[in-house]
């Protein structure tokens, strides 16, 4: 549900408008994945759009609630598990990937969704990302990249542009920002797609493909923090430079994907996909077979 549009203060008209919209939403099935808890994000936060897209993707994939596990770290995205009707683990800062890995390894029958911000995923959690990718564990990791630490009220993050003034860099951030898309490709993720919060309808199919991919799906999504970032990622600026991934792009071509990532334009869609790379589960089965072969 987007909170961007405001209903008029006309009460009867309000009820009628809301009620009809509510019916549409209920019919869509999106609510099936939402718990009763209301999100705590600021009005205008990009997370609402992402959540909408995610719910749509889950609907499309037909994931059962009881098999859904949402794992988060600390940040505004941290509360995600509470907003979903399923099982969740709101872990400690930066450690969502290990927890998610543990869940999926224990119960390969579950659908594991990992969410977290850029601080959570590239700062404190930065050391876990390459190894989760190396293991190719079949989870979907959506990284909410808003270029700032929002929950703690506006400090620099690993993706804050150089020079931007923030709470901890009142004279401008001196550090070079990381680019999660380049990192993900550099780490050889078996699936990498990007998008931005401005187009939830474009995001939903991306998420669906990410969920469908057998292996580690890494989806950094650019999203604004309307409260603490007035200059970098804004609703207006977000639309600048975003284009769909060219139709002739071969997603199995890593070099091409990197070129897209390094391009001054931003591309939403699937940049890279290796559908047949053995997953962690495949390797486990392989190991078990070899171990059984060696057993006396």
């Amino acid at each position: 549900m987007s909170s961007r549009s405001r209903e008029p203060q006309d009460a009867p008209l309000l009820n009628r408008g809301v009620a009809s919209r509510l019916d549409r939403v209920v019919d869509s099935g999106l609510l099936d994945y939402r718990s009763e808890a209301l999100p705590t994000w600021c009005p205008g936060c990009g997370y609402y759009g992402i959540t909408h897209a995610l719910a749509a993707a889950l609907t499309e994939r037909g994931i059962e609630n009881r098999n859904l596990v949402v794992v988060s770290g600390i940040g505004c995205a941290g509360r995600y598990p509470f907003f979903f009707k399923g099982y969740g683990f709101h872990g400690v800062h930066g450690r969502a990937l290990p927890i998610a890995g543990g869940v999926k390894i224990a119960r390969p029958d579950l659908t594991v969704l990992v969410v977290g911000g850029d601080g959570d995923g590239l700062g404190i959690g930065g050391g876990h990302l390459p190894h989760a990718i190396r293991r190719n564990i079949d989870v979907t990791y959506i990284l909410f990249d808003n270029g700032i630490y929002g929950l703690t009220k506006g400090q620099s993050s690993p993706t804050t542009p150089q020079g931007q003034r923030t709470g901890t860099h009142p004279y401008g951030n001196p550090d070079t920002p990381l680019d999660p898309v380049v990192l993900g490709l550099g780490y050889r993720a078996s699936f990498l797609a990007t998008g931005y919060a401005g187009e939830p309808d474009e995001l939903a199919p991306i998420f669906a493909r990410a969920l469908a991919h057998r292996g580690f799906s890494f989806v950094p999504v650019v999203t604004p923090c309307v409260t603490f970032d007035a200059v970098n990622i804004t609703w207006d600026r977000m639309r600048e430079g975003w284009q769909p991934v060219p139709a002739d792009h071969d997603p199995t071509d890593l070099t091409a994907a990197l070129n897209l990532a390094l391009d001054e334009n931003r591309y939403y869609g699937v940049l890279y996909c290796e559908p047949d790379r053995p997953t962690f589960a495949d390797a486990e089965a392989d190991t078990a077979a070899r171990a059984a072969g060696n057993a006396p």
Partner: protein
């Protein structure tokens, strides 16, 4: 400490010392295995060189007895010198009247003070055997001097050679029949040379006796015991990071788990390891990680998360010298504080400490059940000494559940009104737990303080209620846990000795010694070291004139907990000798003459 074994008894400690490559540890291994098969009890520790390559000193320390033993002993009755300069440094470990077996015909003369025989003093018994020459005769190299020495020992000490030779044949036979034959010949040459040429003037005599063939007995280390516990507990995931002295557990499970439907993940760091284990626990399967002090320090945040989220997980900590990187190859018992209290906030969780190798198996096994029954991380404290030392264990004789059976409370369906309350406050503190995959019982686990439904709630009333609940679980555990072991004097005692972990073995020997000296001494040996069994402690302290708490750390970490429980001071026997607790030190503290 003098030994008061009866004239018939066998209690012999042998140290086989060589440079890396001399096969001293292999020889110790053969001795252990043979002694165990013959029906003796053994405790063995291997001392490795500090460097990976080179010719550093490596010593196999083997204690063989016809009665169960609890410590490796500090003094050796026999030194087998496979390398003279290294062996010279071992003389401080020799008991009075010790036997020194050395190579009487090295290829060249030793420089002054490099020959071990030059340091043999009156009272010691020196046996020179041409180890190198006999080895060359059998295998055309000097690499079998260790086997020759074993043969010589079997002759001198009248050890029946059968089990030794079986072990040698089996080990070398794996590589080739020829190698096995050569090494058997080396053994025989050593044995016959000793019998023909040496006049026996020492007192060690096995009388060629075999106390009783023990089928199914194996020589097992603490790490192996703990690993076996994980296997028998049906662990689904072992996630871990290599660290001395726990790495062996991971390596054993990496070999054994895959065939049993489990998997081992070597993670990028300890935080990822505990994270994986907690995730698995949350998902409803058994998961474990093993580490040492530095790793446990990294894991404290996740321990807090597991306590707050009431997620079961087992952490094995092989304690070593600390703090920080500390002494990676030396034993210590200084992680009790961090195991019981490490992490932010009031964060209760059970801490177990096995006393010997068999308990490394049984207690770790129980840890999985306790973790699930009480929905909590459980830390099992081993130490480097326990991890690495070997004892004779017959698993078919071992009581699989000496600490009772513990059932977990699962929620399989929705009962009652409203949403499922994952953290419902109950009388025991334990809430029925649903795991992912269960219909309807949706909830999220969080590190934030939360209400019964698991939603974040920071109100003071809620926080108190939930904190109390988490501590109530520990009280319930304490109520149901077996009484701590009491040893020695059952009535009024002059001195009471409290110890935990591997210290219990030393305390047991000290206790036995004190009793032979007519001292009324009692022992208190808990395996659940946190929460502290206050009631039992108080009854114990009440009947002892003095209470001494013996442990291998500097500040007396358990002693502090004991004092807290008693509301009174106790005597502390503390120290960081980078070696196992010495029974003689306990005896001295108790006022006895060692």
């Amino acid at each position: 400490m003098g030994r008061d074994e009866p004239a018939e008894g066998i209690d012999v400690t042998i140290r086989i010392c060589g440079a890396a490559g001399d096969g001293s540890l292999a020889a110790g291994g053969f001795m252990n295995a043979a002694a165990a098969r013959m029906g003796y009890h053994i405790i063995n520790i291997d001392l490795y060189p500090a460097e990976i390559r080179g010719f550093g000193k490596s010593v196999a320390h083997v204690r063989i007895s016809d009665r169960p033993v609890h410590t490796p002993g500090t003094k050796a009755d026999c030194l087998v010198a496979l390398n003279d300069p290294h062996s010279i440094t071992e003389f401080g470990t020799l008991a009075e009247g010790a036997v020194v077996l050395y190579d009487s015909r090295p290829p060249v003369y030793w420089d002054e003070d490099r020959a071990v025989a030059g340091f043999i003093e009156p009272g010691m018994v020196g046996y020179g055997v041409p180890l190198g020459e006999l080895s060359a005769r059998a295998t055309r190299s000097t690499r079998s001097r260790n086997i020759v020495a074993l043969g010589a020992l079997s002759g001198i000490f009248r050890i029946d050679p059968g089990a030794l030779k079986e072990g040698i044949e089996a080990r070398f036979g794996r590589k080739s029949a020829e190698l096995a034959a050569q090494n058997l010949q080396a053994f025989d040459l050593g044995r016959s040379w000793a019998l023909e040429n040496l006049e026996k003037t020492d007192a060690i005599d096995f009388h060629d006796r075999i106390p009783g063939q023990r089928e199914g007995v194996r020589v097992v280390s603490g790490n192996e015991g703990a690993a076996r516990a994980c296997l028998e507990a049906g662990v689904r995931l072992y996630a871990g990071y290599p660290i001395t002295p726990a790495t062996k557990i991971m390596e054993i499970l990496a070999k054994e788990l895959p065939a049993r439907g489990g998997v081992v993940v070597q993670t990028e760091d300890e935080i990822s390891a505990i994270g994986h284990a907690v995730g698995s626990g949350f998902a409803g399967t058994r998961a474990v990680t093993a580490t040492s002090g530095p790793g446990l320090a990294l894991m404290t945040e996740f321990i807090g998360l597991a306590v707050m989220g009431e997620v079961p997980v087992v952490i094995i900590d092989g304690q070593r010298g600390g703090p920080s990187t500390g002494l990676p190859t030396k034993t210590e018992q200084s992680d009790l504080h961090i195991a019981a209290f490490g992490g932010a906030g009031d964060c209760p969780r059970p801490v177990l400490a096995p006393a010997d190798v068999t308990e490394c198996f049984t207690l770790t096994r129980t840890a999985f059940e306790v973790a699930e029954a009480f929905q909590t991380p459980v830390i099992v404290l081993l130490d480097l000494f326990l991890c690495n030392r070997t004892e004779d264990v017959n698993f078919s004789d071992v009581d699989p559940a000496p600490w009772g059976a513990w059932a977990e409370v699962r929620a399989e369906r929705h009962e009652g009104e409203g949403s499922y309350r994952r953290f419902a406050v109950t009388e025991t503190g334990i809430s029925p737990r649903a795991v992912p995959g269960t219909p309807d019982l949706y909830h999220a686990v969080t590190g934030l303080e939360h209400n019964e439904r698991g939603l974040p709630d920071y109100t003071p009333e809620n926080h108190l209620r939930m904190t109390r609940k988490r501590y109530r679980k520990m009280e319930t555990l304490l109520e149901r846990w077996p009484e701590p072991e009491l040893a020695g004097e059952s009535g009024r005692a002059e001195v009471g000795i409290v110890s935990w972990g591997s210290g219990i073995g030393a305390a047991r020997e000290a206790l036995a010694f004190l009793q032979t000296r007519g001292v009324r001494a009692a022992g208190f040996f808990p395996r659940l070291v946190w929460p502290v069994c206050e009631e039992a402690l108080r009854s114990f302290a009440e009947r002892c004139e003095r209470v001494i708490v013996a442990e291998s750390n500097y500040t007396g970490q358990y002693a502090g907990l004991v004092e807290q429980a008693l509301g009174a001071r106790v005597e502390r026997l503390t120290g960081v000798p980078a070696a196992p607790l010495d029974p003689a030190a306990i005896v001295a503290a108790a006022g006895g003459e060692a």
